[in-house]
């Protein structure tokens, strides 16, 4: 179970990323955030977001048109 979840279904670019950034503030260091989205562009975007920000994309998958991302915040900073 992730430390925080974010339901970004129905939202279009760039809202899933912007809301994920906000939700990550509520996640403790080393904790996880689970995001649900329906924007197909979010697959490439969450990968790029994680590469740039030092968050780790632990998992991402798709079922019934819903994309699920599991992000892990860096342990320390």
């Amino acid at each position: 179970m992730a430390d925080q979840t974010l339901d970004a279904k129905g939202l279009n670019c760039p809202l899933p990323i912007l809301k994920a950034k906000k939700s990550l503030k509520e996640v403790p260091a080393g904790g996880t955030l689970e995001v649900w989205a329906t924007d197909p562009g979010s697959v490439a975007d969450f990968q790029a977001f994680c590469r740039m920000t030092g968050n780790e994309l632990l998992e991402h998958d798709e079922a019934d048109g819903i994309f699920r991302f599991l992000l892990k915040k860096p342990a320390s900073g």
Binding site: G10, L11, N12, C13, P14, L15, I17, L18, A20, K21, L24, A29, D39, A48, F49, M52, T53, G54, N55, K73, P74, S76, G77
Partner: protein, 170 residues
């Protein structure tokens, strides 16, 4: 902007500047989408609002869209895509109606409003510079603009741009 742990992890903050020269509803999206996303990805962002981009800093924000001289603008309609002949675009009320249609469509498709994106930019400490010359030219005062707008000129922009990794003109 506060440096957060994830930004340190990526090797320090990078930066981006955007010159915003257009203020219609459609042209307002790219600069605000890119500035908010860049800020979310840890970049320090400066936006310089000049000429017709300046009204995007007004407290009373209400960007409109025109189909006039915009042949590539085709709206989804009855299963296809339809444009509008210029002679119709010129009629009174068409700009209002088209703007309303576009805003409804954006709302239906989960696209953020320009006001929402601007609020997010403010929240993310995006630096918003109002071009002094344009303010003077079009007779605006800083009181007409949102509190976060600051006054600046070409030199202010060049200083920010010379320190930025990405510089865009939109």
């Amino acid at each position: 902007m506060t440096i957060e742990s994830n930004e340190v992890a990526s090797g320090g903050s990078r930066s981006m500047s955007i010159i915003v020269t257009k203020g219609s509803l459609d042209w307002a999206y790219p600069p605000f989408i890119l500035s908010t996303t860049a800020a979310a990805m840890g970049l320090e962002v400066t936006m310089f609002f000049t000429f017709y981009g300046l009204p995007l800093l007004l407290r009373d924000l209400d960007p409109k869209i025109s189909t006039l001289g915009n042949p590539a603008m085709k709206m989804p309609m009855m299963g296809g895509h339809m444009g509008m002949p210029n002679i119709v675009s010129m009629l009174p009320g068409v700009e209002q109606a088209t703007s309303k249609m576009m805003k409804n469509l954006m709302n239906k498709k989960g696209v953020a409003s320009i006001r929402e994106l601007r609020d997010l930019a403010v929240e993310a400490d995006v630096r918003l510079i109002a071009c002094q010359m344009t303010m003077d030219l079009f007779e605006y005062s800083l009181d007409d603009m949102i509190d976060e707008a600051e006054l600046g000129g070409a030199a202010t922009y060049i200083e920010a741009a010379s320190q930025s990794d990405i510089n865009l003109f939109i």
